[in-house]
């Protein structure tokens, strides 16, 4: 797994200990690629941070001087005015230095974040289809938003870490020069501070993970309740849903309590530690003075002050480490993506696709998503320009793979070639290839935006009039007009307010407007109601008369229009020809036709449901090998259903019918016989 998929769901990363694949050195050096563009801002910012740390060290020293001077009481006040001014100037200067440094840093950081994000997004959007398909869209998004954000936090953190380290070292040196015993006492606070931070990160990690999980459950429940609100309402189930939420909510509260316990320990302990430390310093200073009398009050004040300045950065530092570590983890995952090779790329001398010949040739194609799990095997056939080809076969036969994934070059074929005209699709640019091919996918996908914008998606230069014209042709305008704001109705949440049929008809309009030369319709009308579908198909016949069209069919009407029917079975091309030829052949197609297609819309069917073979779960064909599908489905189209059409049944059937239905049925049967 090149991209590091399978590392678990997105945001749990920062709490689960993440094992990174690269050393810190490697990570920093690849981050350097970005950082070096900002070398001057970094130098300036670091410089100002240094100055700030320096003023922070000097200010307490001035206070000490002041105290020492007045201890003698011989001084006049005017002699001390410069000291006061110096004190003010230094603290104010420290503030200015710090501010400037933060300002430079935040400018640089925001710019760098934008750059990393854009590079990453671009890389991802062109990356391997199988990666994008296997990974949840939320996980990929987490790379782009959360990981980059964490990285930026890490960079920002490193400046503050720098100033903290400087403060710690500087304070310690000053402490040592003031009095080494006091310095040693301050040193003793370090392990305690690290202990507190350690407790926080050790227990915190676990507790936060639990709280988050419980939070996730509450959120999931609420999300479901909200998206299923109409169902809940129609069954009067609001109360139950509230109760279910309440239980999860209570669980979340119980875990949050643990978190409260942790906080109770950590923050008060930190402040208690600081108070104890300075009390100890005052005590020890007194004790030192008793014996040697070398410490002035100014020195004691300085020690107390420095010890505080020493303790807080240490605690901050201890707490920064997990954050820094998670920034490195994020960097690691980001580099994973940068280093992944693009699976499908244009050859260096790729040309634009020719525009004269729309014939399509499949030569010896074999394909597997995963090693040796062949979804397609040895497919050979050609399609003449302008031909309408219907593709039939069971779920998992490889229909979608062949046309939606390979012809569009979402994946590269290992064996065999697909050519359009006389050009291998590998020799042309992907961009020109995809402009030539229009694909209507099974799952109607709409973008956030108006209906109009969605239809214009594939043809940005088309006018609104063009859109309306297309919609009129496919009879979409009537329903679009019925929407609250017509063409300007906003599609939100993937079109939750539209039925899947309405969504599908918009996707069809979108592809038609893009006006591709070659068209792939992957069960493109399966979600429409029968009436609309028939209108759309009539329009399609008109619109796509001249185009090479592949229709992955699910209904009789499409098939009967086709000039060529391709039958796929378990990844193999088993039959090809016109409807009549294939019916004469009396093979798989004839079988399919009889059992699947011919019955659609038949007024009544007298098969007993018990006679049907049991259904199975729909398996996503991609992850299942053809062999397995064979195993699961058994001998799918056994002769069982044919019994439905035997004479005895037909007779019984006719007796129950109304006269006009009977008439219709008889006519139909005749037609069918003719076809046979």
């Amino acid at each position: 797994m090149v991209h590091g998929s399978g590392r678990g769901p997105g945001r749990a990363f920062d709490t689960i200990k993440y094992k990174r694949a690269r050393s810190t050195k490697v990570l920093v050096s690849s981050l350097w690629k970005y950082l070096k563009r900002y070398i001057w801002p970094i130098i300036y910012s670091t410089g100002f941070i240094l100055l700030y740390s320096l003023t922070s060290l000097v200010t307490p020293f001035i206070a000490k001087l002041g105290i020492d001077k007045v201890t003698g009481t011989s001084e006049t006040f005017s002699a001390l005015i410069p000291l006061t001014i110096l004190f003010l100037a230094l603290t104010a200067l420290g503030w200015v230095f710090h501010s400037i440094s933060v300002r430079i840093m935040s400018k640089m950081n925001s710019k760098m974040l934008h750059e990393v994000r854009m590079d990453l997004y671009e890389k991802l959007s062109f990356s391997d289809m199988s990666y994008l398909k296997n990974e949840q869209s939320g996980n990929i998004t987490a790379r782009v938003t959360a990981d980059t954000g964490e990285l930026a936090t890490g960079v920002q953190l490193s400046t503050s870490i720098l100033s903290q380290v400087l403060l710690i070292i500087g304070s310690f040196i000053l402490l040592v020069t003031t009095n080494w015993i006091i310095a040693l006492i301050s040193l003793a606070a370090i392990p305690v501070a690290f202990l507190i931070a350690g407790v926080l990160s050790y227990f915190g990690r676990r507790i936060i993970l639990r709280v988050r999980r419980a939070f996730g459950f509450v959120s999931g429940k609420m999300a479901e309740g909200l998206s299923g609100i109409a169902v809940a309402k129609s069954f009067n189930r609001e109360e139950e849903l509230s109760t279910e939420l309440r239980e999860l909510n209570q669980k979340h509260y119980n875990y949050s309590k643990q978190f409260g316990m942790l906080m109770m320990f950590v923050m008060p302990s930190v402040s208690a530690l600081s108070y104890l430390l300075f009390t100890m310093i005052v005590y020890v200073s007194g004790w030192i003075n008793k014996t040697t009398n070398v410490l002035s009050l100014g020195d004691i004040y300085l020690s107390v002050n420095l010890s505080q300045q020493f303790l807080f950065p240490i605690i901050m530092l201890a707490m920064s480490f997990p954050q820094l570590e998670s920034a490195f983890g994020a960097m690691d995952r980001i580099i994973d993506i940068f280093e992944a090779k693009r699976a499908v790329s244009d050859v260096h001398d790729a040309v634009n696709i020719q525009t004269t010949d729309d014939s399509v040739h499949f030569k010896n194609i074999s394909f597997a998503y995963e090693e040796d799990n062949y979804v397609l095997k040895d497919i050979i056939f050609s399609v003449n320009p302008g031909e309408l080809v219907a593709v039939v076969g069971h779920t998992g036969a490889g229909k979608t793979t062949l046309f939606s994934s390979l012809l569009t070059r979402f994946y590269d074929i290992e064996e065999g070639t697909i050519s359009i005209g006389n050009q291998d699709i590998k020799s042309v640019t992907q961009s020109s290839l995809r402009q030539a091919i229009g694909l209507v996918t099974q799952e109607p996908f709409l973008f956030t935006g108006t209906v109009m914008e969605n239809i214009l998606y594939g043809a940005p230069n088309a006018t609104k009039e063009d859109v309306k014209e297309i919609c009129k042709k496919i009879n979409a305008d009537e329903f679009i007009d019925a929407l609250p704001n017509g063409y300007d109705t906003l599609v939100v949440e993937g079109g939750k307010k539209l039925s899947s049929g309405q969504r599908q008809i918009i996707t069809i309009a979108r592809t038609m407007l893009a006006d591709p030369r070659i068209l792939v319709l992957d069960e493109a009308t399966s979600r429409l109601d029968a009436y609309t579908e028939s209108l759309v198909q009539a329009a399609q016949r008109e619109l796509f008369k001249e185009r090479t069209t592949f229709v992955i069919a699910h209904r009789l009407s499409t098939i009967s229009d086709a000039e060529k029917i391709v039958v796929l079975d378990h990844g193999k091309l088993v039959e090809i020809g016109s409807h009549k030829e294939l019916m004469d052949l009396d093979g798989i197609y004839a079988d399919l036709y009889k059992t699947y297609y011919v019955h659609q819309g038949l007024a009544e069917i007298d098969v007993d449901v018990e006679d049907l073979e049991p259904e199975e779960l729909e398996e996503p064909a991609k992850n299942v090998s053809p062999q397995m599908i064979g195993m699961i489905k058994g001998d799918h189209m056994s002769g069982k259903n044919e019994s439905s059409l035997n004479k005895e049944e037909t007779r019984k059937h006719l007796e129950k019918m109304s006269p006009e239905d009977k008439q219709k049925f008889m006519k139909r049967m005749k037609e069918q016989k003719k076809l046979k």
Binding site: K69, E75, T84, T91, I100, V102, R103, S110, K111, K133, S137, T145, V218, S219, L226, I229, A230, A232, N236, R237, E239, L245, Q250, S256, G260, M263, M264, F265, P268, S271, Y275, T279, V282, W287, K290, L297, Y301, V304, F410, R434, T441, F445, P460, A482, S499, G501, L528, Y531, H554, L556, S557, S560, D561, T595, I605, E615, L617, E618, S644, K664
Partner: protein, 609 residues
Amino acid sequence: MAVITDKKTTSGYNVDIQYELLKKYKSANGWFWSAFKRYPLMYLFGIIVFGASTYLATKTTALIGEALDYLLVEGFSTNFNKTIGLMIIYVIISWACLSSGAYVWSIASFRVQRDMRQEFYEVIQDHSMAFFDVNDSGVILSMGMNEINQIRMAIHPSIRMLMTSIFSIVITTVFLWQYDFIIGVTVAVSFVVYLIIAWIYASKVGPIRRKLAKDLADLSATSQEMFRGIDVVRSFDNHNKEINKFGYISNEYALDMKKEGYLSAFYWPALITIVFTAASFGYGIWLVIEGSFSIGIFISVLALLMALSRQNFMIPMRLIMLQAGLQNSKRLWDSMAFKDPLTQPEKPVESEWNKKISFNNISFAYPSTDKKVLDNLSFQIQAGARVALIGGPGSGKSTILKLLLRLYDPTEGDILINGVSMSSMHTSHVRSNVTMVEQDIFLFSDTLKANISFAKRDATDEEISKAAERAQISQFIESLPNQYDTVIGERGVTLSGGQRQRVAIARALLSNPKLLLLDDSTSAVDIKTELRLRKAMDELMKDRTSIVVTQRLTTLVAADMIILMKKGRIVDIGSHTELLERCQDYQFMCQHLPITNGSVASNDVGGRN
């Protein structure tokens, strides 16, 4: 805990949660601050111990000077040791107070968070569909989860820490006052000024922070959409368009981030503390030379001021959090106080649903839109009738079903059930008599059992399997390893469209409605599904009034009454035969239904003209 829903009114219906809430808290602020009224003792305890702990901590700091004065005058004396001992005791007590207070405070706040979240969900859930039509469910979810969290964070830790800061300011001021009047007054005044300026500052940073959060959400949404629709993006070769879209938002984010960085870089309220600390330093020195301050006191003053300026860095953060919490509670409150066009009648009446249903001059436009999707409909449905609704997309068929569930009230006109207007009925009365099987079936990601018994939680296993059997889905369910305990949806197995539809039919069967609404527009793909579905539907329609949106010829033929609709109006009403005789639209439609489709018998209907 919020258990409003458990209450019942005298008429036996649930109380109007929204009404109760609005009455109880009155405003967004009332709702926010009600946190302290919900667990008053816990918060009171918190306030007292925080006061104590802050006092002791400040006292400890102040004692430094005293100790040093002893040291200066008496050397390493008993008094010095006593003072040190006192300081240690104070620190320990202060620690104990702070810990227990923080714990109690956080628990109370987590309770508030839990209760508010529950309250929010219950009120929102009770809104009619008018609310859900105009509000993005993702946004509502984020309100219920993240924004409630932020409200809690405003209380804990934000208010807690602000309170501690104010305690230290007040107590420090009192201490300084005792040393010297002028220093005390100066500190008091400048901290008030400081707080005001800090509040203004926070009001500037707050919106940028929120803008950043919004930018990030937009960024996620854009990216998520692109990766979900990657096939579409790729097949239209629109990568650059998507990258630009993302780039625009990413740039927006970067700009806002820079803006925020600039603002927080120059935290100018800090200058106030810097100036007066320096001034106090000079003034203190002068007092010492004057002789009115001992050096110890001078050091105490300095130490106290240093401790105060450490608050510097935390106060703005907390103010921002508090403002965010207040703003969020305003947003949540506005959502909760949504003025619902559909209200429950004050004195709900009931009706008999197995009687006549009549539509009297019904017109309807979806809330907050003008477009009439139903235009002056009148018709009557006899008890026990099978009604079929047919019409093109957007003709208003599904809307009729929604009105009958009282998901909306008609804009004009009245729907009478046995002579009783639907708008005078409580929605739960309506919905316990009416069941809808919608077109795009929604199932919960739960077990099959839970999904089937959704309408009747106390259903026995036997009832459930009986319903499944009648819905033609039992065979399938029993073939699964976990049978009825199989979890479906995101975390479980995926069902095909036909299977989902039959699970929904089983669900509807268990609810055993008087009036059945069925949206059956999508046609089945293969014979098996088709057969099972038909049988299931027959079972479902048995012995009750049913209204079916359909294009299935069998259903049309069997219907007692077909209502043909076009653009929100009724074209014709009658039986299949009648309409076939006289209605051109119907004839046209029938021609385009699968039975007469394509090469097979396409002249049938037309032939009889």
